[in-house]
Symmetry: C2
Subunit: 103 residues, 2 copies
DNA sequence: ATAACATATCAAAAATATTCGATATGGGGG
DNA sequence: CCCCCATATCGAATATTTTTGATATGTTAT
């Protein structure tokens, strides 16, 4: 029960940093290698690597190694899952709705 | 352009903390006042107040004052907007897709 | 094998977020 | 008016996240 929230928060942690949103924006027009991303964002190489790891571990981005390059793209399945998760977290459960509050 | 990502990250920042996910979970079965939330989560009163502020400012939760109590509930519109935002951030723009990457 | 390159990892520093206790604010009851 | 209760805000302490520079790993070209 505790780890569930931890697991869920991982997805949103990926999205709550401005740099990572900028990276996602770049990935929206197709797969990019790390070097290309690095050219278009104002952070160092190791920082980029750190952010890419978080994005990949969230499932929203997937990576592919090709020789010395690493290519990244948005994962359709991961995105779908994230949207579904957000929907589930915010849907109101009318069956369970109770009104035993202070008044 | 910079503030856009800042604005967007606010929504996901609200969702990236385990305590706030726990609060959201409680709100899924109906409106609750702060005192009820406080009873069911292991944080202090001032901490709860801090988290509620973040949730409300993200738009996902709305608050209503009633005498000395503050009631909170999930905002349908806010949730809808958050889902739509996530969809937009992760949708791949095929028109713009380009493949000018290192190889 | 050596050199140049792309990326990942590490540890320490810096920046941010969260918690806590104290105090402030505002409402309702006596 | 005075007191009690619910919640908000503040500043300091603590915890977590992000950045940075150095170094490691693995790849390609010579």
């Amino acid at each position: 029960m505790e780890t569930m929230h931890e697991e869920h928060s991982k997805v949103f942690k990926a999205l709550c940093d401005e740099k990572r949103l900028r990276i996602l924006e770049m990935l929206r027009n197709g797969e990019k290698c790390a070097c290309q991303l690095l050219e278009n964002i104002d952070i160092g190489q190791s920082s980029l690597s750190y952010h890419m790891k978080i994005l990949v571990e969230s499932g929203i981005v997937e990576s592919r190694k090709d020789g010395k390059w690493t290519h990244y793209k948005i994962s359709k399945q991961g995105s779908k899952d994230a949207i579904e998760l957000l929907r589930k977290l915010t849907i109101i459960d009318f069956n369970n709705e109770n009104d035993n509050c202070c008044k």
